[in-house]
């Protein structure tokens, strides 16, 4: 498959606008400006593109909810918060091909009628924020941003908003609160951001990788895009592999590539040949883990949902036989309780409680009944939280308990680990 998302990242000085243009960059934007905004939205709908930030919502459909009234100001916010553990794909585009992202954003702004756009980038990505800052300057200098862009009368300004440490800012309404200068706690929906988003105005929030798909859809056409991978979940996808494999890294492959193909062909197999695969998290830590029995599952939104997991951000975390599942569950759960924003009780109180139980299990101090206690805590969190973070914590833990219950029991009975 021809790469479109990672095609430039290994080239020298790939972040410079001259190099981006030399390799065909900004042609799609010029092309798009000749089309009617509605046609672009239709093209993106026809392409079948679904959001790469985690939820997999149809991008074209999301854009079509934005009111057409030209007198209402509208915003595009690019979600570059990239905080889901295991995920490091957006950073590669931001650092090494920032203009691909900017071009996708420009086309999106034109399609939805936005004249202002913010990139919300997590605070730790200082290098990336500087890269984007420079890229935006270059784009203004070349006339791709600012007033009367390429003589079309279209105006667009772009700004960077830097986060400062809080995973919840990746949730789209918390992200908006954060830009507005408040604590990043999710908002009630409805109203949805498409009607009342940033500063109460219609707003589209899209992930970096989603936006990076847009130039190719304009240039090569929606049919080209939808012909890659499964019909209902098409397109190229960046899989970010980490953990116990020989060659961890980012792999741009067709949606629907199987876990086996990804791990054993592209990543060169398990890190140590004498340690077989035990578990794999297919889409960032919120996605319930799968086991060696699931290796033929295609990595796409629907196939993973059918397995009771999810594609999420496409971050694949591979664990070999030596991994203690109690410890993995503890680390994952500690993350969620650390990142709970405190807005709703089940998540604010429930996740730290789970962490305490997991911690004592991990330290060989588990008590009989702890598994049942965790199950009942999970039941009291799941479906009762204000935003999906609490559910994510539960789904991750339930995935571990479902597949490795005897390991948790062993920790309680023997006060030590089965894996070591």
């Amino acid at each position: 498959m021809e790469k479109i998302l990672l095609k430039n990242i290994d080239k020298p000085e790939s972040h410079r606008i001259e190099n981006y243009i030399k390799d065909g960059g900004y042609k799609a934007f010029a092309e798009a400006l000749k089309l009617k905004p509605d046609n672009i939205i239709q093209m993106v709908k026809d392409s079948g593109l679904r959001g790469r930030g985690g939820a997999g919502f149809s991008t074209g459909l999301k854009w079509s909810f934005i009111p057409k009234d030209p007198t209402i100001p509208k915003y595009l916010c690019c979600n570059a918060d990239e905080g889901e553990p295991g995920t490091y794909k957006d950073r590669a585009i931001i650092d090494n091909d920032p203009h691909l992202l900017l071009e996708g954003m420009m086309i999106t702004c034109y399609a939805i009628g936005a004249a202002k756009s913010y990139i919300y980038i997590r605070g730790e990505f200082v290098f990336g924020a500087n890269r984007l800052e420079e890229a935006i300057k270059e784009a203004y200098a070349k006339g791709y941003l600012g007033k009367n862009i390429l003589g079309t009368g279209f105006n667009l300004d772009m700004y960077i908003h830097r986060g400062f440490g809080a995973y919840i800012c990746g949730e789209e309404t918390a992200l908006l609160e954060s830009i507005e200068g408040y604590r990043a706690q999710p908002r009630k929906k409805p109203p949805f951001p498409a009607l009342a988003g940033l500063y109460g105005k219609p707003t589209v929030i899209n992930n970096v990788e989603t936006l990076a798909c847009i130039p190719a859809i304009i240039e090569k056409g929606p049919k080209w895009f939808s012909s890659i991978g499964p019909e209902k979940s098409p397109g190229p996808k960046i899989f970010g592999v980490s953990g116990h494999v020989k060659k961890p890294g980012l792999y741009e492959l067709p949606m629907g590539t199987t876990l086996r193909d990804l791990i054993f062909n592209h990543c060169g197999g398990m890190l140590r040949d004498d340690r077989p695969l035990k578990a794999v998290v297919p889409g960032g830590v919120s996605a319930p883990m799968l086991t060696a029995n699931d290796l033929d599952t295609p990595l796409d939104f629907d196939s993973l949902a059918a397995k009771g997991s999810m594609l999420g951000s496409g971050a694949v975390i591979v664990m070999d036989e030596s991994t203690c599942m109690v410890k993995a569950a503890f680390i994952t759960n500690r993350f969620f309780s650390h990142e709970s924003c405190g807005k709703c009780t089940p998540c604010r109180d429930g996740t730290p409680w789970l962490t305490r139980v997991l911690k004592r299990l991990e330290h060989g101090e588990g008590r009989p009944g702890d598994i049942e206690l965790m199950e009942s805590l999970c039941a009291n969190i799941f479906g009762r939280t204000f935003c999906p973070l609490g559910d994510g914590a539960v789904m991750a833990l339930r995935g571990a308990l479902k597949n490795f219950r005897e390991e948790f029991q062993y920790h309680i009975d023997h006060k030590k680990c089965m894996a070591s």
Binding site: G83, E124, R162, G163, G165, F335
Partner: protein
Amino acid sequence: MLSDKAKKEIEAALKKYPNKRSAVMDALRIAQADRGGHLERSDMEDVAVILEMNPVEVNEAAAFYTMYNIQKPVGRHHIQVCRNISCSLLGAEHIIKYMERSLNIKTGETTPDNRFTLSTVECLGSCGTAPMMQVNDDYFENLTEQKVDEIIKKLV
């Protein structure tokens, strides 16, 4: 007191937004850098004045985000080692322990010469090159004991 340079940077940040409050995160970041890595109450009061906000509101915003070190000075080099899952699978705990031994401090502490502060953090978005850490603004990846030694030696 904020330096003139910091004040100018905050003025520039204000231009990005339709209201002053939206610049609070930038302003706090600039103020923290201005003081050399942490925030004092007076910094938040200065920010409140510039942004025409109530100091309590500035405080509330600052307290929410983990990268603001409120009344918690850090050493010249703030070492933050990722403790999340991908890094843990490839030996993050070992790196953290090794770091504690080399610097002769515990996680959360600062060396007496004020050179280093050691912290652990959640995933920094660099999981394919685990284990990893951030020192001030820079990422260091694929860490080994030897690499950690070399990095520490260079940080004066």
